[in-house]
Symmetry: C2
Subunit: 545 residues, 2 copies
């Protein structure tokens, strides 16, 4: 990879620093007053999603400079490179073709697309058999429960999608086990009948420590319940490329669906990794989910920068991280079925862009991925919103709001909607000392007491947020929403000049863990650790006696 200018070397960088100085104390209400079209201008729509980004510390000229930055960084070229199979994952010398997994045509990647189609067809057959209740276990009972065993990308994506599409769920219940803590699997198995339970082992290498440990425990559970080794094929499916290891485990090749090295784990829910989702909601719904993502892909690839949703959201991320030193980003879905969305996004954004060197190996002199966190509204309002409104940190927020509910409780849903819009507005308008004092005097406090208490009620306001709405959360809009954040993550990686598709930082911990495990198991007694770790190992050993 040839050396490219870092973000801080681009001409627009200087202009943006100046804009930020001007805008850091700007009044958002003032910006609305100065431009009666702001509420319309600072919005964009695509693939069933609507983005309102008018409540940001952003002027038209600052936005123009951000768009300049994107142009100078060659974002458009980077987007094209993603779709055409360039080796955007340069440190592992391969493309990142998750868009192909939801494509309806090959678009130049015909060989790979043929593989995708073949896998999709096999996946459809497997999923539909389970979805329709035609898959039976060792005793002839219909499979009613499916447990996906995977971790990271083999867990967070399918777990989120199944939960988010609960209103569309068929008769099979899908469960998710990821933690190596044996309690995770045991709690899940507690109320299940082995005869009607099937497992999906999701691991590209079939060697992931957590997944293999849980897989073996699941296998023992099944054998102890009465299945024979020969019957394991009725209860175990796999998503893996290591067919030999799967076969040794007891899963024949016809039960295995493929993964590809040109798709990273955190971008893989569109592949056979989504098998559990397809089982839960059926193939038609899963196809709509893919189609929603494809609609976002086309928007991302073909839209001009100034109305390109993922790019706009990425520019906002860069804006606050680099020019306002925000080190966190909050995502608040006002929909209970999206309560796991922040967990999914943590992997997507922090594993992709939690990097300190550029794609060509130079140490960066600016901040990259912020901490992403959040929870489903309205629950956070009774928890951490205090800090959002009155804390000392800048916390830009994305509110996500489906406008209709799948429940029949429209009236109760209105309360949810009102709370969402109110939080976004409150962050913007805040409350002045004068308003606080008046409010307290109206409650009957005398002037002195009101003056003493009022500073505690003051809210500075001018705290930025976006609102992303959709008519309702369905397979299509969910697919579009996930693809939106995927592409936002990619754009930010382009701007930061990093490779969003590797994760070298997780390697060393695994090596050291293996060494320590040897010490715990007594197979490696040489003390090669630091004094603190040695001491903790001793503490553990003493606690075992």
């Amino acid at each position: 990879m040839t050396a490219r200018a870092l973000l801080s070397d681009l001409p627009a960088y200087t202009a943006l620093k100046e804009h930020a100085v001007k805008l850091q104390y700007a009044s958002l209400e003032g910006l609305f007053n100065a431009d009666s079209n702001r509420a319309d201008t600072f919005t964009a729509s695509a693939a069933g999603l609507h983005l309102d980004y008018s409540k940001h510390l952003l002027s038209s000229s600052a936005l123009a400079s951000l768009l300049d930055l994107a142009e100078q960084a060659g974002v458009q070229h980077g987007i094209e490179a993603l779709f055409t199979g360039a080796h955007v994952n340069n440190t592992e010398d391969r493309p990142a073709l998750h868009t192909l997994l939801r494509a309806s045509s090959g678009g130049g990647q015909e060989d790979r697309f043929l593989e995708v189609q073949r896998a999709r067809e096999r996946m459809q057959v497997m999923a539909q058999k389970l979805y329709r209740g035609e898959h039976t276990g060792y005793s002839g009972k219909t499979i009613t429960d499916v447990i996906n065993i995977g971790i990271g990308g083999s867990d967070l994506g399918p777990r989120l999608v199944t939960q988010a599409l609960k209103p569309f769920q068929g008769t099979v219940q899908c469960h998710y086990v990821s933690n190596v803590d044996p309690a995770d699997l045991l709690d899940t198995l507690a109320n299940l009948d082995a005869a009607s339970t099937a497992f999906i082992i999701c691991s590209k290498s079939f060697r992931t420590e957590e997944t293999l440990a849980n897989g073996l425990a699941a296998r023992n559970w099944m054998l102890n319940a009465g299945a024979t080794t020969a019957q394991l094929d009725k209860h175990f499916l796999a998503v893996t490329t290591n067919l030999q290891a799967a076969r040794d485990f007891g899963i024949p090749e016809e039960n295995c669906l493929p993964m590809w090295d040109w798709v990273g784990g955190r971008y893989s829910v569109w592949s056979a990794v989504g098998l559990s989702c397809a089982i839960a909601v059926g193939w038609d719904r899963f196809s709509e989910f893919l189609a929603g993502a494809e609609a976002m892909d086309q928007h991302f690839r073909n839209s001009a920068a100034h109305c390109n949703l993922p790019l706009l959201m990425s520019l906002l991320e860069i804006w606050y991280c680099i020019f306002f030193h925000a080190s966190n980003h909050v995502v608040l879905p006002y929909d209970h079925s999206l309560q796991r969305f922040p967990d999914f996004l943590q992997q997507l954004t922090m594993e992709s862009n939690g990097k300190r060197v550029s794609a060509d190996g130079r140490e960066l002199d600016y901040a990259t991925a912020p901490v992403l966190w959040g929870s489903a509204g309205t629950m956070g309002q009774h928890s951490f919103h205090q800090l959002l409104h009155q804390g000392t940190l800048l916390c830009p927020v994305d509110f996500i709001l489906p406008l209709n509910t799948h429940t029949k409780a429209a009236q109760q849903h209105r309360i949810l909607v009102a709370n969402c819009l109110a939080q976004s507005r409150t962050l913007m308008v805040g409350r002045s000392l004068e308003d606080a004092t008046n409010a307290l005097m109206k409650r009957g406090l005398d002037e002195d007491k009101a003056a003493t208490l009022a500073p505690h009620l003051v809210m500075p306001g001018n705290r930025p947020s976006s609102v992303i709405t959709m008519a309702s959360l369905d397979p299509g809009t969910l697919g579009a929403l996930l693809a939106l954040y995927e592409h936002r993550t990619y754009c930010s990686g382009l701007l930061w000049r990093i490779n969003s598709f590797d994760q070298w930082g997780v390697e060393l911990g695994k090596e050291i863990s293996t060494e320590i495990l040897g010490q715990l198991a007594g197979t490696n007694d040489g003390s090669t650790m630091d004094a603190a770790t040695d001491r903790l190992i001793k503490l553990w050993k003493d606690a075992q006696r």
Copy 2:
């Protein structure tokens, strides 16, 4: 309240700034090499918990200055004020006596303690009746499922405790519903039988919007299932002070347990708010939970500063927030049953200390509460740990590790332990360019390729973490753990000079929400909002047609 020196006015502040300059690029391994006792010295134990804080960017002299800071801030006096019922919640002019809820004697608060004891006795009777399966519903069926309806402190605490004590659970299943999104309650009711289900409505005022909406929906569900209004008392309990509202709802006084205005929601799990926990695990276990917290209380009140766990952890929080500009703090329990602990801590820390003015109303010139986030290990290792190891942010971590598992799967649990210790060590040691290059050449890469790739494998290390261990997670150690973080939060509030017990910042959003709800419901058509909110309201209305 008389004006006290702010944190930045204390003499130790200047000394700490100098220490931080020296230590910001310190080598943690170097600190261990320079002091062979470090692994012992930088540890402390209390109430069944062990804190190892040796892997921090901290020298003995910096620690001494932090302890000076605590002394200059009058922390010891503040601790005493908490226990003796001083009005530490000055803006609401009342004490914060959550410690009394787990006390075994009044300690000067005899009147209040008598009330606590009376409430405990009534709570014990209610809990044991349900725990023993002696509470029957309208049709005579035994109650097998209890749903706690509450939000914020009336939800997060009991939800956490019930999940954490799952290995001790009796026959009643407890569920938790908090979100006003109707999907939360409906999903929970989906598989339950009204005849064997009871609800606990947890709301001090009996007016909390979310709780009341869900309570009414639950009431309708019960009536539709066949219960008569007169039989509602068999299915509804309440924790509230508004006896009239509860009675109007259908809950007689004998089904109501009290709350007190001298206990904040986020500190209330020790009160009747913990009723669902006592039902889940029985009264003996719940008493052990209280006793564990009381043991931590006594340690907190009576221990010298240099071995005071909550104070030491608070000083570390201040150290990184103020002097290293860390804006986040990570909590990683390596125990699946503590997976909700970060959610609980978000409310505890961010609602308590997400403030921008001192207790006496002066605007602060330093950062207060950081964002607290995390997840159960090992799951995060396959997600956001990439950023912990190679991102550009300083993220101090608390690892929490029970040394024994309640499952029989000791071998699998060892993998969990090894991973926890390995992550803490890896954050400290990192990987140099030379080590990275050598590792790559050992894998067969030639010198050029290894040199190109190595920068991506480099990990700076010297990233700080604590390890908190306990023999096992049981009611006693869980109580101590929660009390530890409560007192850590209080100490940080003392040092930051803020009132940790109010939450004025959540008020305005509720007012604005009511206005918007009027517009959505068509009862308030005046446009009093900003252009963006007006537009989003219109978007919602259009989506309803």
